[in-house]
């Protein structure tokens, strides 16, 4: 076999080896400018990232922009990942969330904001051109169940804040409530969500 064949096999083996690495180990390689490691991270998390962006922005085109901006930011700031502050997936989704909020606040998707204001926020994002992923379905079911178990006024402020990108001040104005009440509902909602999920996972006892 020629040297070219050896080179190809070595590259394939290297790629296969990388795919066995945990996210945290791959991030160590991304920090050194390893594009192959970054590609694996992208493949593992792009669907969750796009799903979040799509749910928040309500438009595929905007969600695509958010996805691309977020992953390029991740590539350029990979060195900032700190494993003591949670999983790579959660870190990526936080970056995506921040970019989606920026897009919402830039007014890129004003119609989406109007939808929120009209109370459409309770509706689950449209499922056209989508496919539920079996792997995450159980987890999704748990979280949705936990969200639905919250008092309506608490789940509403959480949805408006997290998925709608509205500030607590905007939500207070929208719902004609004091800002302190909105903050309190968010805190209670999150605390109950945590408990509800821990219970569902069987670790809340």
């Amino acid at each position: 076999m020629g040297s070219r064949g050896h080179g190809f096999l070595a590259a394939a083996r290297r790629s296969a080896d990388r795919r066995k690495l945990a996210d945290e180990e791959l991030m160590g390689l991304v920090r050194t400018g390893d594009g192959d490691a970054f590609e694996i991270i992208y493949d593992r998390h792009c669907d969750a990232a796009f799903s979040l962006a799509y749910r928040m922005c309500g438009r595929r085109a905007t969600a695509e922009e958010v996805l691309q901006e977020a992953f390029l930011a991740l590539w350029r700031t990979g060195g900032r990942y700190d494993r003591s502050r949670g999983s790579v997936r959660n870190w990526i989704l936080r970056i995506v969330h921040n970019h989606a909020v920026d897009a919402l606040r830039r007014g890129v998707v004003r119609e989406r904001r109007l939808l929120h204001e009209e109370g459409a926020v309770e509706r689950v994002a449209g499922s056209e051109d989508t496919a539920e992923w079996t792997l995450d379905r159980e987890r999704a079911h748990e979280v949705r169940g936990a969200l639905e178990s919250l008092p309506k006024e608490q789940s509403r402020v959480l949805e408006l804040a997290y998925f709608g990108g509205f500030t607590h001040i905007e939500i207070a104005s929208m719902l004609q409530l004091p800002a302190g009440t909105v903050k309190g509902r968010m805190r209670l909602g999150l605390a109950k969500l945590r408990i509800a999920m821990a219970t569902e996972e069987g670790i809340g006892r």
């Binding site: 190809f8 400018g33 594009g35 970054f38 590609e39 792009c46 669907d47 969750a48 990232a49 796009f50 799903s51 979040l52 799509y54 749910r55 695509e64 922009e65 996805l67 691309q68 901006e69 390029l72 590539w75 350029r76 949670g86 959660n90 989704l93 936080r94 969330h97 921040n98 830039r106 994002a125 989508t130 496919a131 539920e132 992923w133 995450d136 987890r139 999704a140 748990e142 979280v143 949705r144 936990a146 969200l147 006024e153 959480l158 804040a161 997290y162 998925f163 607590h168 302190g180 903050k183 309190g184 509902r185 968010m186 805190r187 209670l188 999150l190 605390a191 969500l193 945590r194 999920m197």
Partner: protein, 244 residues
Amino acid sequence: MSEERERPLPGEGGCGDAAIYLLGLLEEEHSRAFVEHARTCALCSDDLAALGPAVDSLPAAVPQVSAPTHAKRHVMAVVRSEATQARRASSRRGVQRRWVGLRRLPSRRSTLALAGVGLLAGGVAVGGLSTPFGGGSAGGAARVVSADVALPGASAMLHESRGDTWLTVAKMPEPAAGHVYEVWLKRPGGAPQPTDSLFAPTASGAATVNVPAARGAGEVLVTQEPAGGSRRPTGPVLIVAHLA
């Protein structure tokens, strides 16, 4: 009303703001203030630990949608191109460091010897830079060409890998209403030929487009054209990348 144990919460980024901090609702300045505060506040520190996993779980409630494949092409084209540039810059620095190190040789060494070493180092540097697209023995044959851009603040580069050529732009302004950017190929002595590559950048001014059949072209050009593209350039050349 069922607002059990709701506390009155003063100011922004102060005590009790863990939830709005975690939900990303605080401005950067208030966010920093809250992080500072939480370092010494047991209540807020406990809130962060207790509420953080709840916020992190929220994305799981979203119906899962497959990311479009062209988004990956765009992202990876930029990543590969930046990784190549970084590698090249790093090896250039390495050569420079070696050269600087050699120049620090004691001056009493013979001028001839130093000149010889200098020539050798220069040869390495020139050799390294004269294969600007990093082909070499790795077999990756990735090549990156920086383009001249007539738009203030914007930048562009061509990335060629495995027979595909991509144009990546950054900080490009939006084209005028009803217009797009169009990519052209120009062969030496010929007129610009249109391609199918029409694009508009993202809100941040970024875009990556395929440049078909770029092999053999002397230059890749970009102009602004009416939506749908033109058969001949109607506007000034905004980007030019010299391939020859």
